[in-house]
């Protein structure tokens, strides 16, 4: 009994597991909703009936079945993967730059990926696999550019100025992408919906090429979590504890590029998820990167999938692109964080 009361009164381990289970339950509920609700004719009750019939050999409502299995389910899966990737990438990038504002969409990572994909499509690449690697290379390039610029200027310690450097690069890359699209009708058609970020019209096949690199990213994240947590104590302390800060930082940036490039290749650039998700995770679980990462796993998909549901419902019968919606939600959060009593130090 004493052990039990001790365990229950003992703060963090229990609450982390509790939080994680609670959030996972919420995610399952939201995932179910995303199968039930959509912009088209198939409403929740028809969808619910069709879901129950899914196991049966023959369905009474083949339209509903098609909508769920071929349209909504792939969208859900991609939303789950993209949500995890962007949430984790944001948490990692914020830990490695020790900057609570470092968000892949703001640091030129997404813009680098998008620009690279635009170039690749312009030059005739159309296979999904190629698109993923190109996006990841672009993400790496964008990220390194901004971090190098920040280092050259010695502004690494000022959270807002690092974001400024990222915004400048993002703006430049977006303009270049637009310029390419103006001059090339084919590329423009191919990419129009993609550049704003959306889960609509994606197929499960779009997801398969992501798996190898996401697997590598997951493995590296598990290996890097401990040294990254030590890095939060300061570079010299981390060296004193036997870590290699430079190697860790470089590998984390590679992981971020793999995750963001992959997510961008699958769903287009989706901003602010990488800001909002780690922010919420830290608020719930404290600053340790290992706890933050755990909570990002359910929180990322919760944000992306629920934003996707809202994006289908706000302007029926058409859809609001997800990237637009996350920006509408994320921008006020960013302003709130910057204007907050003080920036949390990481």
């Amino acid at each position: 009994m004493r052990v039990l009361t001790h365990y229950l009164s003992f703060g963090k381990p229990r609450s982390l597991i509790g939080l994680w289970l609670g959030l996972s339950g919420l995610l399952i509920a939201i995932a179910l909703l995303s199968l039930l609700y959509g912009a088209g004719d198939v409403g929740p009750s028809r969808a619910w009936q069709a879901l129950q019939d899914l196991g049966a050999a023959a369905s009474y409502d083949s339209e509903a079945r098609f909508v769920i299995a071929e349209l909504r389910a792939p969208r859900l899966w991609i939303g789950l993967v993209v949500g995890v990737a962007l949430g984790v990438a944001g948490a990692l990038l914020q830990a490695v730059t020790r900057n609570p504002l470092a968000e892949p969409g703001l640091l030129g990572v997404s813009a680098g990926a998008a620009f690279a994909v635009t170039l690749a499509i312009l030059w005739g690449a159309d296979t999904a696999t190629l698109r993923v690697s190109v996006a990841q290379l672009g993400a790496l390039g964008g990220c390194l550019c901004v971090l190098a610029a920040a280092r050259l200027q010695g502004i690494g310690n000022d959270p807002v100025r690092l974001i400024l450097a990222g915004a400048i690069l993002s703006g430049l890359l977006h303009s270049l992408s637009s310029l390419i699209l103006l001059y090339d009708q084919h590329t423009a058609d191919e990419i129009r919906f993609w550049v704003v970020g959306s889960l609509a019209g994606r197929q499960l096949d779009d997801l398969v090429p992501l798996f190898p690199s996401l697997g590598v990213a997951a493995l590296l994240t598990i290996l890097l979590a401990r040294p990254l947590a030590a890095l939060a104590l300061g570079e010299h302390v981390a060296i004193g504890l036997g870590h290699h800060p430079r190697v860790v930082r470089l590998l984390v940036i590679v992981v971020v590029a793999l995750l963001v490039g992959g997510a961008t290749a699958a769903a287009g650039p989706i901003a602010f998820v990488g800001l909002v998700v780690p922010f919420a995770a830290r608020a719930l679980a404290g600053p340790d990167i290992r706890r933050t990462l755990w909570l990002c796993l359910p929180l990322g998909p919760i944000v992306v999938v629920s934003a996707d549901i809202v994006s289908r419902l706000v302007v029926p019968p058409s859809e609001l692109p997800l990237g637009v919606l996350t920006a509408l939600i994320g921008a006020p959060v960013l302003i709130g964080v910057v204007r907050g009593r003080r920036l949390p130090t990481l």
Partner: protein, 285 residues
């Protein structure tokens, strides 16, 4: 600690005797600016060594070189006769702990969580947390008197308690050598004494301590061995009572003083400290 809990024992592969740390022809530089050139130094085992000197004399640079934070431009730092640069940094972290100046703990991190970081060099990804680690953390908390504060956030503690927490992290690392960069800067007198007495007790338990400190009086009071640096050179070293002279103080800091012996401890005591006249005239040497 309960009776059957595993004791915190030093890694069997580590030598029992306190290690000796020496430098041979050590040259350290920041970019193109040479700070220390061709320095031979011997740091006595199992004692508290204090490195003192005026601002910019190279004492923190020397500590950075000793702790592998700064790659030597020439020469070597030897720990037990092995060049520290030839040891994997994680192996070295089992022999040599390091506490930088005014480290900063992330918000809301608790004392126990911070001290657990000290076990990192002994853990691997496959062996994340063992009973041995727990014993070492418990022992470190006990040695630093922090057991009852273990679950408190570090940023809610007093300055002295906070610094004791960082030292506890270094203790949990179970190294024979501990390097500290100005462990008492920004602490008030009571907290300074709290930290110095802890450092002394660690040396008494066999650890080799090397610390950079600003305050010459505290160095005399708490160190067994004094190293006085001036413009990148060691100009005097040895027992504080035999090393500190009015001439040395004048050369280091440009002040005149009267030297007395602390009747309570026998340590040298500086009184009547005042600026040397010829410094004011601009001809110090």
């Amino acid at each position: 600690m309960t009776h059957d809990a595993p004791a915190c024992e030093r890694d069997a592969t580590q030598p029992d005797i306190a290690p000796d740390m020496t430098t041979q022809g050590l040259s350290l530089a920041y970019g193109s600016v040479a700070v220390i050139e061709d320095l031979d130094l011997q740091l006595p085992a199992g004692q508290v060594t204090a490195i003192v000197g005026p601002n910019g004399c190279g004492k923190s640079t020397l500590l950075a070189g000793l702790s592998r934070l700064l790659k030597p431009r020439g020469g070597t730092v030897l720990l037990n006769g092995t060049d520290i640069r030839h040891q994997p940094t994680r192996q070295l972290a089992k022999r040599l702990a390091l506490l930088p100046q005014q480290p900063h703990a992330p918000e809301a991190l608790t004392v126990a969580e911070l001290v657990r970081f000290g076990r990192h060099p002994h853990q691997s990804w496959l062996r994340q947390w063992s009973a041995d680690d727990k014993a070492c953390v418990d022992e470190a908390l006990e040695l630093t008197g922090l057991t009852t504060l273990a679950e408190r956030p570090v940023d809610a503690l007093s300055g002295g308690q906070r610094q004791r927490t960082w030292i506890a992290m270094a203790i949990a690392q179970q190294t024979a050598t501990l390097l500290l960069d100005e462990p008492t800067s920004a602490l008030d007198l009571g907290h300074q004494v709290e930290v110095y007495e802890l450092i002394q007790s660690l040396a008494a338990s066999g650890k080799t301590i090397v610390m950079v400190i600003h305050d010459l009086v505290s160095a005399c009071r708490y160190a067994d061995h004094l190293i006085a640096m001036y413009q990148g050179h060691v100009i005097a070293e040895g027992l504080p009572s035999q090393t500190v002279t009015p001439e040395l103080v004048k050369r280091l800091y440009g002040v005149d003083c009267t030297l007395m012996t602390d009747p309570a401890t026998g340590a040298p005591l500086l009184t009547n400290v005042r600026r040397t006249r010829d410094v004011l005239d601009g001809s110090a040497t």
